[in-house]
Amino acid sequence: MREFLIGKLNADALPHEWFTIAGSVGFTLMLLFAVGLITYKKRWKWLWNEWFTSVDPKKIGIMYFIAGGFMLVRGGLDAIMLWLQQSLSSGSSHGYLSADHFQQIFTAHGNIMVFFVAMALIFGLINYIVPLQIGARDLASPFMNTLGFWLYVAGVIMVNMFFFLGNEYGAAGWLAVAPLSGKEFSPGVGMDYWIWSLQISGIGTTLAAINFIMTMLKMRAKGMTLFKMPLFTWGSLCSMAMAVTVFPLLTMTIFLMFFDRYFGTHFFTTTGGGNAMMYTNLIWMWGHPEVYILMLPSLGVFSEVVSTFSRKPIAFYKSNVFGMIGISTLALMVWLHHFFTMGAGADVNSAFGVATMIIAIPTTVLVFSWIVTMYKGKIRLTVPMLWFLGFIAVFALGGISGVLLAIPPVDFQLHNSLFLVAHFHSTVVGGVLFGIFAGLAYWFPKIAGFRLNERIGRYAVWSWIIGFFVAFIPLYVLGLMGATRRLDHYDASTGWQPFFIMSLIGGIIIAIGAALQIVQIIASFIQKRRLADTTGDPWDGRTLEWSVASPAPAYNFAVIPEVSSRDAYFEMKKLGISKPTYKDIHMPKNTASGIYISIFAFLVGFGFVWEIVWLVVVSILGIIICLIAKTFNEDSEYTIPAEVVEKMEEHQADKVRAFHKDDDEVDMGLLEFIKIALSWAWRLVRGKR
């Protein structure tokens, strides 16, 4: 009976390791603080109506940012823990982590950074910006969008659930290589949490990607042909097209592994005729394109940033587009370079090695497109532009080491070494994270209504860039010296310790950079009024998102613009805009179905992890009922009357007219921020007395 009710759950599952106790206490405190604050401010209803059930892609985008940023801190802490262990654990000292715990941390770090940070931040940007760039009021299916987001949240909760119940995370690497991830070698619930967090958020990603493709292909403003689309939208389109292509492969592969673990099938087992190598093959078929899924939107961001801050239209627009299409096509054909050493032989390795090297060509096309855009442009070195320059430096390093690794004989030497770790961090941090940061700095005024503090922003950029090189150049060297990745301990005679310590210092500089970014956001909030963007066009932008107020109104465009050239808004500004006639706008109603379905999806996963059959059955039924209720509910739109639209637009126009530009640098510096923070803390302490 007990087994029927709560499955495998028992007292052992409660937190008893130091890290799960720390984690669960930490999360509980944060949760209590949040709940307390919301209750104190009486904001529950507001939160539910305005945010949680919202189908507005702008709000969903912001929620993606918040969740993704939170997970970035979580994954970053993992990284610092790994760094610390590696710099301590040499010779007779064994550091402060057990080998098993170390494995769990590097698994969690990779997992969280790829699935729950990068994906979330990319989706955040796409959600907010793409509809604005293509002149759409909403996404093609608002419901799918909230469902995708809440499934992602369910995944986030699932990935952190082990703090509260289970005491262990998966320890088989971020891709859970078989047969190590099988029941035989990983009997605990850690792997099951891994499976279900990825499965749930992966399905959310597929749904979101389908939705964006529908939106980008079918909802562009009149006159915006494919080759007039802004390049960020192009990057997102390529990325999402790849996502719908490879995420199903991931879902099915993990599904097969789930069958291996739960029902004793023989797909990736060492017994019964199964083939563990098939798992490696299938998972990298998703894994490699995934990197490009994350990178392409970032490349699009850079195109926008470079063009705007060079005050020039992007050079070689079509080559840039075909470069991105080329990258996405080629990216599907190179996955074997992740396992050159598996032993498929020279024929196979050379085929995939050549394919891998070819990817450098379209990537270089993009780089030349940016360089030529900057040539003779009036360049403004703003924070987004600095991120771009940092990207060029870091990404070039990653790209060159990548071409090196694409040569199979070289790969045989460097496979599984820290050289590889340094390589992919160069590409992912440079190519993905810097792009997202550039995009955030660039579009922050559109999202928040005021721009970010430039001075502190510059400090953050420089900390990140310097920290990156200090942290990862030693790893390249260590890799060449023979240090393998995922080492929790090494011999003192290797002489590696100084390099690991240097790497840790780099990591700390990066952490300072991240802290500065948080400071930057807080400082900008303090100076909100002075940094306000009243015109909606703070950078002298070129694309449609700058033609609306900041932050964008719920309906995005009072009147859907007609587009006749690539830099649509730039042209409008030259020609002048005539006064439009307003009409009623139909907007989708809020819905809570996404939340309900995600709760049930979470419970399905939870039920499977702990083998609670009734919970699984009930939750699946719950999902089906929610879906039916949602699909056959025909009343899903509301109308904003034309008069209201007109009033809102007039208000914005007044603000623009009242705007006068002053060129003084108003941004506060770090010292001023510290002064303000200290005096605020002082007041808080005194007020309490």
Partner: protein
């Protein structure tokens, strides 16, 4: 307002199917189901030819259903769905064919069975888990092939299974003798080459029957062949 009134716009003939097109599609599908079934069950043709035929008929059948049932390519332009279909089809072909390509090569190179078999042959273990490994219980006659001035003598050798074969290199250079012809290398009993260094003779056990050639891939004139009777 009756619910049926606003669906009267049946100008959709071009975009959707007519009864006629469904009937044609249905009949063609039936035909293309029966043909491969007939071919397979009655073994009209066999082997790879049959494989190729039934797979192409399946693809043809898919095309028919796409055209007559799903009306692919007749929606509003531009035909993004057609683009997506072909991209997907490409990825599916890639997924399946590349998996087979990779896994078959892997099997060829890394198959654990083959490795154990090769080890067993070297150790002279003739049976492993009820299967013959090709190793010999007792060795038969010894045959000698001498290579001098790039000439192989005898150029053809007759031997029988479990005899041994010794290569002697009398030239003052290192030779790597590979099995097979200059254009196509094969393995003999799991080995691909015999290395002859500084006149040291090298002996192999003839554990595979049939006709084989060998050659020095640095030297176009140096080749010979031997046959092993079972």
């Amino acid at each position: 307002m009756s619910t049926e009134s606003h669906v009267t716009k049946s100008n959709t003939k071009s975009e959707h199917g007519t009864t006629g097109s469904y009937v044609i599609g249905f009949i063609l599908s039936l035909v293309f189901t029966i043909i491969p079934y007939y071919l397979v069950v009655n073994k009209v043709i066999a082997g790879n030819a049959l494989l190729a035929v039934i797979l192409s008929i399946a693809i043809l059948q898919m095309a028919i259903q796409l055209l007559f049932f799903l009306h692919l390519g007749r929606g509003p332009k531009p035909l993004y769905n057609v683009v997506f279909f072909f991209a997907t089809a490409g990825v599916i072909v890639l997924t399946i064919s590349a998996s087979l390509f990779i896994m078959s090569h892997l099997y060829q190179n890394m198959s654990p069975e083959e490795i154990t078999t090769r080890l067993a042959q070297k150790e002279g273990i003739s049976q492993l888990g009820g299967e013959k490994t090709g190793a010999c219980k007792e060795l038969g006659d010894n045959h000698i092939i001498t290579i001098k001035d790039g000439q192989v003598s005898p150029i053809h050798l007759e031997a029988s299974l479990c005899d041994t074969l010794t290569f002697i290199n009398e030239d003052n250079k290192k030779r790597v003798m590979k099995f097979g012809s200059h254009t196509a290398q094969v393995s003999y009993g799991g080995e691909y080459e015999v290395v002859l260094d500084d006149g040291r003779p090298e002996t192999i056990t003839l554990n595979q029957s049939g006709d084989f050639a060998f050659h020095d891939d640095q030297d176009i004139n140096t080749d010979g062949h031997f046959s092993v009777a079972p």
